[in-house]
Every structure is written in C-alpha cells, then in structure tokens.
C-alpha cells in the first residue's frame, strides 16, 4: 500500500466511526482530537479496525502516533507497505 492508500484506509475507517462527519476538508497536520473531537474510545476503535481489516497490531505504547492523519500514515507506512488494499 502506498501512503495514499493508507490515507484512504484511515478515511474509510473514520467515516465508518463518524458517519455524520464531513471528512473532505480534513487537515492532515492537525490532530484528530482537535478537528473531530475524537476521544480515547475512538482511537481504540481505529486500532481495532486496523487489526480487523489488515491484521495490523498497534501496541498501546504507540497509540500516540495516531494523533493526526500525517503522523498516522507515517507510522503505518512501514507496517502496511507490503499489504494489498482491501
């Protein structure tokens, strides 16, 4: 998966979690917590969706890496580059 594929995957997960949210104007460099007011349960959900869809494990000590879209993609790139987009 390319960086763009990973970004798309995350957008897909976010739109599943927050179906009422318009994600088209999402700023990749601003924290999800600020833009979408995601809370800790939502971050767990992102982790769980990644595990469900791609069998990617994000250990608890790395949850902080998922703060914004940019940091999430950078963190996931080496872990997902060999995977096919579903």
């Amino acid at each position: 998966m390319t960086r763009d594929d990973i970004r798309e995957t995350i957008i897909d997960i976010l739109s599943d979690i927050t179906p009422d949210e318009d994600l088209s104007g999402l700023d990749d460099n601003v924290a999800f917590r600020e833009q979408l007011e995601l809370d800790s349960m939502d971050f767990l959900d992102i982790v769980m969706e990644l595990r469900k869809r791609y069998r990617v494990q994000v250990p608890e000590e790395d949850y902080g890496e998922l703060a914004s879209m940019a940091s999430t993609v950078t963190y996931l790139e080496p872990r997902m580059q060999d995977l096919e987009k579903v």
Binding site: D16, I17, T18, P19, D20, L36, E37, D39, M41, D42, L44, D45, M48, K52, E60
Partner: protein, 469 residues
C-alpha cells in the same frame, strides 16, 4: 464454541453483542423472556402499542454534537444520529406542594427557575453546576460518597436539595434514601444538562435497530433460553447450561442478569448474599386517553411529583407509596406533524412499590389490589396534573412482579443492587457484568455499559471501562 455468550437481550447485552460481533467474535445472546429489551421492552394489547420501562431517552444531544454519551454510543455502534429518530421533550417539571421547577433540554431554564423560586441559592446552584461539570472518571471510593452530604455543603435550602434529588433518584438510584455522588452526577447531567427525547415509535424502534444490526453481523439470539447455571472449572467460566439442559461452551461470559443474580448462577458460588439485592421497585399505571393530553391542558413531558417537603426514596411498607411519583406523557415530545400518527393520548404514572407485598398476594387478591392501586395512583397524580380520568379509554398496569418477570432482577429491583461494580469484573477472569449493576442506567447508559465491557474483552484488561464515560 462461542467467543462470548451474553446473558440477557436488554440494551446492554445487545450493544455488547454488536461490538463483539462487529469485531468478528462468534456471539450468542441468551434471553429468558420471549422477547428482547429486558427492562425496556414493548408489547401490544387490545390493538394498542405499549412501552415498558422507557419514559424518555435521557442524555439527549442534538445532531452534530460530538460530545456526550449519545454521540459516543452512536459512533461505537456505527449508527447515524437519525436512526434513533429522537424528538426532544416539550418540557418537564419537578412538582412539590408549594414550588414547581420547570426544566427542559436547556439548563438555562432550570437555572432561571431556581433563581426565581430560591433567590438565595442562585450562586450555590452555579457552584453545583461547576462541581458536576468537573466530575470525571471517579474511582469507586469517590463514586460512593453521599450525594446528600455533598449537596448539603453546596446548597443551603433543604427543599431545593430534595427537589433536585427527586428526578435523579427516580431515574436511576438503586440506594434507599441517599444516592451515590457518582450516580447523582451522571443522572444530573443526563436529565438536566443533556435532557429527554423519544422516538415517535417508542423503544421498539431502538431495539429493532439494535437487533437488526446484531443479526446482520452474524450474531445469534436465543429467546426463551434462560440460563440455569454458569459452568465453572478451576476458577474459569467454561460455558453456560440452559434451563433446557442444553450446554453452550464459551471463552467469555458477559452477564446483564445483575450482580447477585449472576453470582447465584455460578456453580462455584455456594452462597450469594441476597441482602445485597436492591429493594426499589415500582408499579406503573398506563392510561390510553380519547384525546391528546395537551387538549386537557397537560403539555408537560414528565412531571416528578412529591407531596411533602421531604422526598421519600425507600421501599414502601404498604404495597405502594402514593406520596411521590412520575407522570409521563409520550405524546408530549416535539414530533411535529408526525404527532398525528398517535391517535390517542397516553399517560403513564409510576410509583414506588414493595416487591414482597405484591408477591405474597394470592391470584385473586393480586387482581383486586391492582385495581385498587391503579385508582389510587391516578388520584395521587391528578393533584399535580389536570384531571384526565374521565378520558381514559383503556388501561394496563405493571407491578414489581411484572418487572421481575421481564428483568429477572431480585425483588423486581428496577435499578438493580445498591452497590455497583463499576469495572464489571467478577471473581472469575472471564466472567463480566454489564447493565444496571455495573452502575450505568437509562437506555444510553445501558448501551454504554455493554460497549465498555465489550471493548475490554476485545482489547484486554489494559483498557478499563470507566463509569464516567
């Protein structure tokens, strides 16, 4: 072999089932009754639809709101806001003999009502609001502090304390006389700061959404499947045995049956303490009217009444206690044009009742006492609302016996045991509690309870569910 077996198809069990099935667990929900919902259920009688339990969905927040329990459960269960079709209340009241405080889903109304009726308490009330806004993730010890003593420190007029406690106790207090501070904060927020709403179709709409989703994710539901016991081997639950003798193996067991009730199901526990079961149960008198309640001058959604300056909150000595009650009209929500789909009015009156007294009656006495207390409860209620009695065209009533049948809670205790188990853990590492005895009440609270325990099963013990969430 299931990943998780869930005891009880109420709001908490269904929500937990959805979360677990969404994350590919093999889940089976077992329900003793012939229908889903538990305390919050519905039925049809004489061509009319009735709701059990739900007066209103508390914790209402408007569409687009990202904060609060409603937004959170919608995200966790992957529902759109519209799917619950919530319409806001018209306005409610706390009615005591000489003072009536109106409130709605905007806390400013209650603020001004308090300022008008209790001018000296204006600042104290603000202080209370900020104490409650600060409240977050209480530990078990702080949670169990006395709400009455904390309120006495903040508010001077005992009448205002009684009035504020009345709805919060009515809608979620399992303890007699006093209330856990944590529970008070949760209820205060959900009633006065967030507020009431209801789908036009009632609780059935929410339950149907939940069960449809659960099934679409591959979840199994077995009705008329009471659990006889939980099989325990070497400190570990290995499955459940149904009343029919059928055995289901499971890696985890999640029980919404209540704490004492669940302990009694465990075949390694010889002595569950019945003294810890809750004592607060209710009767509810349900009236169908030949008109809309507002045509009789009753446009309030919910009226919490009490006929003296002291609010009694304990098990009555008699069959029922006529001093305090709740008058609810499901018609009085802002349905807009859709109100026309409710051809009749409904008024429901809920009052405290004594489980033992009701169960001790013979069948004939039971029918007679139902009639007697039905009439008395209406007589008590019309002291605080227009007299609607000549417009009643059909009636039904539930008693503590009915609640026991629907919920299987000891004593028909609507809000479960007074002592809550906030983290849902038990003496077994793979048996968890969810629902009322985990400290969450109301429809949104119950769903949140199921969700938080399901997340714990999915993520492991590092992610403790928190009661404030």
């Amino acid at each position: 072999m299931y990943d998780t077996v869930i005891i009880g198809a109420g709001m908490s069990g269904l929500a937990a089932g959805i979360r677990l099935a969404h994350y590919d667990q093999r889940v089976c929900i077992l329900e003793r009754h012939y229908t889903i919902g538990g305390l919050n259920s519905f039925y049809r009688l004489g061509g009319r639809n009735y709701d059990v339990g739900l007066h209103a969905v508390t914790n209402f927040t408007a569409k687009g709101s990202r904060k609060g329990p409603l937004a959170r459960i919608l995200k966790q269960l992957r529902f759109r806001w519209e799917e619950f079709a919530l319409c806001e209340q018209m306005g409610s009241a706390i009615a005591f003999p000489d003072v009536r405080l109106a409130f709605n889903n905007d806390i400013r109304l209650l603020e001004s009502e308090v300022a008008n009726s209790f001018p000296g308490e204006k600042d104290n009330f603000q202080q209370l609001l900020s104490r409650i806004a600060d409240y977050d993730d209480l530990d078990q010890e702080t949670y169990e502090l006395s709400a009455r003593s904390i309120l006495t420190e903040i508010i001077e007029d005992p009448l205002l304390i009684e009035m504020l406690l009345c709805p919060t106790m009515w809608y979620g207090n399992a303890r007699e006389d006093d209330m856990d501070w944590g529970q008070f904060c949760i209820m205060f927020r959900s009633i006065y700061m967030e507020g009431f709403a209801r789908p036009l179709a009632g609780v059935r709409l929410i339950l149907k959404n939940l069960i449809r989703r659960f099934r679409s994710l591959g979840g199994e539901l077995k009705l008329r499947s009471g659990v006889d016991h939980i099989r325990v081997e070497e400190g570990h639950a290995v499955g459940v045995v149904l009343d029919s003798g059928e055995e289901l193996e499971s890696k985890h067991v999640l029980s919404s049956a209540g704490w004492v009730e669940t302990m009694r199901l465990c075949d390694d526990v010889t002595e569950a303490e019945p003294a810890t079961a809750g004592k607060l149960s209710f009767i509810e008198s349900i009236c169908a009217l030949d008109c809309q309640p507002k045509d009789l001058g009753h446009d309030e959604t919910i009226v919490f009444f009490n006929d003296s300056e002291q609010f009694p909150w304990h098990q009555p000595h008699e069959l029922c206690d006529m001093r305090t009650g709740v008058i609810c009209s499901p018609n009085n929500f802002a349905y807009g044009q859709a109100l026309e789909e409710l051809p009749e009015g409904t008024i429901r009156i809920t009052m405290p009742a004594n489980f033992d007294r009701w169960t001790d009656l013979s069948d004939d006495e039971y029918e007679l006492e139902k009639l007697r207390w039905f009439n008395r409860s209406l007589e008590s209620a019309v002291r605080f609302s227009p007299d609607f009695r000549s417009h009643v065209v059909a009636t039904d009533m539930f008693t503590p016996k009915t609640i026991r049948r629907f919920t299987w809670h000891d004593n028909g205790a609507v809000y479960g045991a007074p002592k809550k188990k906030l983290d849902g853990t038990t003496h077994l590492d793979n048996l968890f509690l969810c629902g009322t005895d985990q400290g969450f009440v109301g429809i949104i609270g119950a769903m949140m309870s199921g969700i938080s325990i399901a997340n714990r099963l999915l993520m492991g013990p590092a992610n403790e569910p928190s009661v404030a969430s």
